[in-house]
């Protein structure tokens, strides 16, 4: 199923290729300097081996004025090579961590000891992630318990999955195939079994697979249901007499808070406001929202977050705080 590779894992994305190129540069440096030292040491060991019992070595450092120069040279050259490695590595890292704007958004919940994946259209998978080739995929991830890590060697990146906030993993597969998915942060007894696969398919095959799979409602639809079921809509209404901030169009904006600071309304802020509403209250509103901690699971939180994200601002509504 997965071809075994002698020295290199499958290279399934452009980012993976750039990591491998970076590695070749680093490896060349390693081989060069290790070989240099090893050869010099062995040559010196043989050439300058002790010939008679009381022979001493010759101190070249004090007598040779070039010694200091040598010290500087072999400090500066490695430093320069290291800074190149640093710069290049940083560029690759930024590529690894900055998804393009048009990425498809999936949700990943990690918990001891399984991966729960939710497609944008509502498909759910356990320990498997089916994606179409050639499309950028962004995973927003959170843990229900301890710190996990989403690791796909074929894409050459790990990202930790935290219980306190969302983290992001992105990739764009450039070939089809089935690739290992591992949990990359020790998370307890069955850590080694928290594994699965990323299955990259041709677009048509992917569509066929989607059609064949049973699917539930999309995250947004589930979120809307929850929003009503938990009575969020009784306060968060798009009219100016509401006791709660209007949520339409609020995602991605800067909100001013009661303590004078500003906060970006992102997924973490929405999640936090559901679990601990009094932590960051919008300016002009009272901290009267009850907490839903213990009443919503991480998956339900994901659905609510997705729903709020989907609420577009109505043209004539202005978000005003009641006096």
């Amino acid at each position: 199923m997965i071809p075994s590779s002698p020295l290199l894992p499958d290279q399934a994305s452009d980012v993976a290729r750039s990591v491998d190129h970076l590695m070749i540069y680093a490896l060349s440096g390693l081989v060069f300097f290790s070989a240099l030292i090893a050869i010099l040491v062995l040559v010196f060991m043989v050439k300058y081996r002790r010939r008679s019992a009381d022979q001493v070595g010759i101190d070249v450092y004090e007598t040779n004025p070039k010694s200091h120069v040598l010290e500087i040279v072999w400090s500066v050259i490695p430093l320069t090579l290291l800074l190149i490695l640093f710069g290049w590595g940083t560029k690759v890292f930024f590529d690894q961590n900055r998804p393009p704007a048009d990425a498809m958004q999936y949700w990943v919940t990690g918990r001891q000891w399984m991966w729960k994946i939710q497609h944008p259209d509502g498909h759910r998978e356990i320990n498997e992630l089916h994606v179409p080739v050639g499309r950028a995929v962004r995973l927003r991830m959170i843990s229900e318990d301890v710190i996990h890590d989403f690791f796909v060697p074929a894409f050459r990146i790990h990202v930790d999955v935290l219980p306190s906030r969302y983290t992001t993993y992105w990739f764009k597969a450039n070939r089809t195939g089935t690739f290992h998915l591992f949990c990359g942060q020790y998370c307890g007894t069955e850590h080694s079994r928290m594994v699965g696969h990323v299955v990259v398919m041709e677009p048509r095959a992917y569509e066929a697979w989607l059609a064949g799979e049973k699917t539930g409602p999309s995250a947004v639809a589930s979120g809307e249901e929850l929003f009503v079921a938990k009575s969020c809509n009784t306060c968060h209404r798009p009219d100016s007499s509401a006791r709660a901030p209007i949520l339409n169009g609020v995602f991605g904006t800067q909100a001013s808070l009661n303590d004078g600071t500003k906060v970006l309304v992102n997924e973490d802020y929405i999640r936090e406001s559901i679990l601990n509403p009094a932590a960051k209250v919008v300016f002009g509103y009272q901290p009267i929202m009850p907490t839903f901690k213990g009443q919503v699971s991480e998956e339900e939180l994901i659905q609510l977050v997705d729903y709020v994200k989907s609420l577009k601002a109505a043209p004539t509504t202005t978000a005003e705080a009641p006096q």
Binding site: L8, L30, F33, I37, R165, Y186
Partner: protein, 552 residues
Amino acid sequence: MTAAATPAPGTNPDGSPRVHYLNAAYGLKSWLLTRDHKRIALLYLVSVSVFFALGGLMAVLIRMELVTPAGDLFQPDIYNRLFTMHGVLMIFFFLIPGIPAVLGNFLIPLMIGAKDLAFPRINLLSWYLYSIGGAFTLWALLHGGVDTGWTFYTPLSTNYVTTSVITVGVGIFIAGFSSILTGLNFVVTIHRMRAPGLTWFRLPLFVWSHYATALIQILGTPVVAIAILLVAAERTLHVGVFDPKLGGDPVLFQHLFWFYSHPAVYIMILPSMGVVSELIATFARKPIFGYKFVAFASIGIAVLGFLVWGHHMFVAGQSIYAGVVFSVLSMLVAVPSAIKVFNWTATLYKGSISWDTPMLYALGFIGLFTIGGLTGVMLATLGIDAHVHDTYFIIAHFHYIMVGGAIMGYLGGLHFWWPKITGRLYPAFWSRLSALVIFIGFNVTFFPQFILGYLGMPRRYHSYPPEFQVLNVMSSAGATILGLGYLMPLVYFIWSMRYGPKAPANPWGATGLEWQTTSPPPVENFKTQPVVTAPPYTYPAPTPSPGVALGD
């Protein structure tokens, strides 16, 4: 070497000293209540060897499990405890005390011409704290151990595991104080107790390394102590500092933990580098090239080592800009290490080199540390670390440094100073063979792990995909060879204490004040106060005065 015409007073017919620190007093009390730094060093030697053996046993069991892809030798639970305890025992009870507590304790007063460390009773207290900490950890081991990994990440360690986290935490906490007090003792000793004429730049590089190490012990250890305290508080009192449900941040633990644990790796390697400097100078019979650069490089490593802890957290959810800062700083900390390797190599140029066993270990160190260090630089590279983080690449990297580096240096030091410590020589053939067996066994064990890591095999995995098996089998085979290699010194060192030929005061022709006194030294180290008038590593070494030298 001048032969004494008649044995000097206080010496046996064969020239060895009649009374020395080993036979000056007998009985258990004279050992357990000793204030002699040399005896305390031997107490540590026994203790760290016990923990090394236990940790090594765990390693053997781990490698046995990993011969097959399925988790078929142990339950996952047991396997998790094995690798956790392997890490805890090896790091906190072998590598951190290791060279400073055994060789540093024994040699620093001798090297600076003092009668003892500044605070002998605190030195003994250090050993007792270490032993008590070890006892706690062993007690936990007997009750099933811990399964959090030696890194104890929260919230796994605070809210999810049911094993003896607090007991082991207390053990490490107490042992941490042992480390702090040893560091404190060394700093004060090196500042205040140097012999007349022994200026800073006349000190052996071994002393410089231990000074730098002591700085780290003093500044870093208290922070991990607080981290452990907070984990214990979280487990018992549910304070919430690391618990997101109570408003805390689990990543804060990682910052507190790595703030110590990164400099800790320099505690583990700097003393070994100090040993290597002594070995290279002695067995090339010339001063270390660029003495001042090497001395300052030690201090540089200690200082810079405190600024790079975030490179363990590149993918932990910290900001990518923080990652950038830690990455560039981590590149900087590689430079002083590189300087040392180049300086050691340059020392060999035009040297008068002998292939004695300690030198073989020193050379093994240079080769393996270079590879380990360069792979470290790869890990400091953000783009690469994102891929190999928490894989076998990391395991290979730190074992190259800790085993290929630190332990080779430790063994080289033991082989070098063994005649001084015990007054006995050991068989040259077997000792050279052990160095070779260890070098080969080590590489066969750990080199395949670099490849496994880049292929994607995560660490702390009990079972793995079948395509990783060949490399794992190779690694386990190497571990057998390595284990055999470690057993060899155990046998011939013990043999030598009874049957080895008596050692002269200076069997290697080395410089350094420790070689100017008898093997073994008297209780008060020197019969007369040494005075230093020359730079270090001035060859040929001065002949020990009559009464000190052993007749040829």
